[in-house]
Symmetry: C2
Subunit: 413 residues, 2 copies
Amino acid sequence: MSEIRLDPYISRYATRTQGMTASEIRALFAVANRPEVVSLAGGMPYVGALDHDAVAEVTRRVIAEDGNVALQYGGGQGHDGLREQLVEVMAAEGISGHADDLVVTTGGQQGLDLLGKLFLDPGDVVLAEGPSYVGAIGAFSAYEAEIRHVDMDEDGLIPARLGEHLERLRSEGRRAKFLYTVPNHQNPAGCSLSVARREEIAALCESEDLLIIEDNPYGLLDFKAELRTSFRELAPERTIYIGTLSKVFSSGIRVGWVAAAGPIRDKLVLLKEGADLCQSNLTQLVAERWLRTQAWQEQIATFRELYRERCDAMLAELSAEMPAEATWTVPTGGFFVWLALPDGVDARELLAKALNARVAYVPGGAFYADGGGQHHARLSFCYPPPDRIREGVRRLGEVLRTELELRSAIYGG
Amino acid sequence: MSEIRLDPYISRYATRTQGMTASEIRALFAVANRPEVVSLAGGMPYVGALDHDAVAEVTRRVIAEDGNVALQYGGGQGHDGLREQLVEVMAAEGISGHADDLVVTTGGQQGLDLLGKLFLDPGDVVLAEGPSYVGAIGAFSAYEAEIRHVDMDEDGLIPARLGEHLERLRSEGRRAKFLYTVPNHQNPAGCSLSVARREEIAALCESEDLLIIEDNPYGLLDFKAELRTSFRELAPERTIYIGTLSKVFSSGIRVGWVAAAGPIRDKLVLLKEGADLCQSNLTQLVAERWLRTQAWQEQIATFRELYRERCDAMLAELSAEMPAEATWTVPTGGFFVWLALPDGVDARELLAKALNARVAYVPGGAFYADGGGQHHARLSFCYPPPDRIREGVRRLGEVLRTELELRSAIYGG
């Protein structure tokens, strides 16, 4: 497009789109994926733990036996049989649902985008944990929502802080459209919201007439196989639930779903059809047959143990290698540890030095819409094997110690 | 959501979304899919003509040999190897391209949605053929664009009419953001734009500084295997090209692409990541291996012959069965015939009677954003076998003749 001035053509939406953060993260991953670098940056599930031959055979049979469906367009809501199986996946977590209420989406991310499209006008307020999932921040910001972060501690989002936000909104004569929360093994914090707090928050949302978007990619990956009552159970009328098979089966099939009743579901189907007509029938039928014919709960137990072992390796090495001023969360499950750097150390500035020392992480700023997270880093333990994780944490420890020595030399102890 | 008043939460976008047309079309297909009904309504490719065992084996090998990639997240732009193969598909039509300039999307529809998001603000003008593809009208309307239809004849969009639109826009002090066109075997009209007109239109767009979105799902399905110079060749700086494998391989894998250089491509990658992170690696690798290892051009020749035979069956039966006042297009390829009903017959009103007589079509109004198309119907010949097509056209002919007799009895000859 060398001869065309493009600016006059670009929409307000696209002018605004997350440019900075997204391209920075892309550049980061380009470096992080070099073989000599230990990447604690990515959120990729370890799909090497799947039985590839079993998946291959399931897939071959889907096409050989049901090719006219698998290779054809499907409906906007998603394949019936798959939706019935996804209800079973929710049931494994004690979450009730009905196949009619599910809309299949391209991973959880498309659910976030469609819900943003469904609910958000410019200037609308969204409440979310601080820190929160980068993909949700991007999706909601793109619709010009104002994201206000509610502080967390090791038991998750703090209800009193949510109350303060609601109070402030009332005093401004405004209200939030919804609360977005990842209650289980949160990305990036690794914490889970306590059940007592869930009840308190559900009651608050009830009294303020606030919708809840409950995003639950990691719920089945609790290291003690513990289950916590979902918002969908506590406040069924006002909770929109997002699930995905990306972390419990395969991220490469891009199968997620939104559970919501009545008019919200109907609107989501229309938005899904407008966005891409329909989900791939091939990947839907693969997921359906996997869940119907294979020991998927055992597969999840395998993943759970694998991630627990990697998490333990990371935590042990952090204890051994981090300077005393650093602190970190102890994950209940999932993929991530949230590291608080020693006072004054900026996570983005430190990243260049870390990459130089051949270790990568995601700077905390990516998980805030408001400039927060400067002194935090997300470390993931999902993908590299334990030895590499230990090596990565050792390298990071050295970078941090050098940094602190340098600061001490310049500014004094 | 029985207790919650939803209206205050819904965004302007979602309030507006194509409700009417989309849900009407859905209701239509629910009836059209009954086995006793001959559906000339759908646009489903006849995937029964694919060698399912070959696709199954390609897919099995993708997972068995490359499972760690196939089952994992991919990049936002799409898989490198697939993009290289898609360049070959374009080359088979004499269209040049480079893998770096392609962004893989969920079919052509996601390309339309992302381009709408990229370019359109409320009130922007889009020029499109009249009639035009229903999915494009939906996608652009949702961003509150004003779609102005440019008349067509059997040689496609009429350049003089385009000139008149541009003139009128100038006199209003406005300009269009882009021209959207399906130049080959158009959906729904079945016509192709002549090469002379392409040159004229490209020159007009050049002098008016208008972008061109060239949507080409059916180009390789020309009944005489004829190729026509693409806008991408005629006006490479200002053309954004949309391709898809839905009609030449499988619609169930949902693999499409947008070809656009430089900053547009970069923006599209960001929008794609925001919409759903990335395309399924599994379906991308299946498409890549299919194109790399199988005789895909022969497969397309098979499709082409199959559709030509079905089109011939439809045209012969239309000649035999339609009342003299009806006219129709003679497709150059693709899936559709555009039928002009006798004067005064409303296609939507007639549909109830047609369904009663067990034949379905899509009323022409779906293909206009401005209330046009009332007296037209889209008839598709892509899916039912020739015998069923003939039976469907016979039923429709009878419905029309009864309608005309009734009118004549009421209003006089």
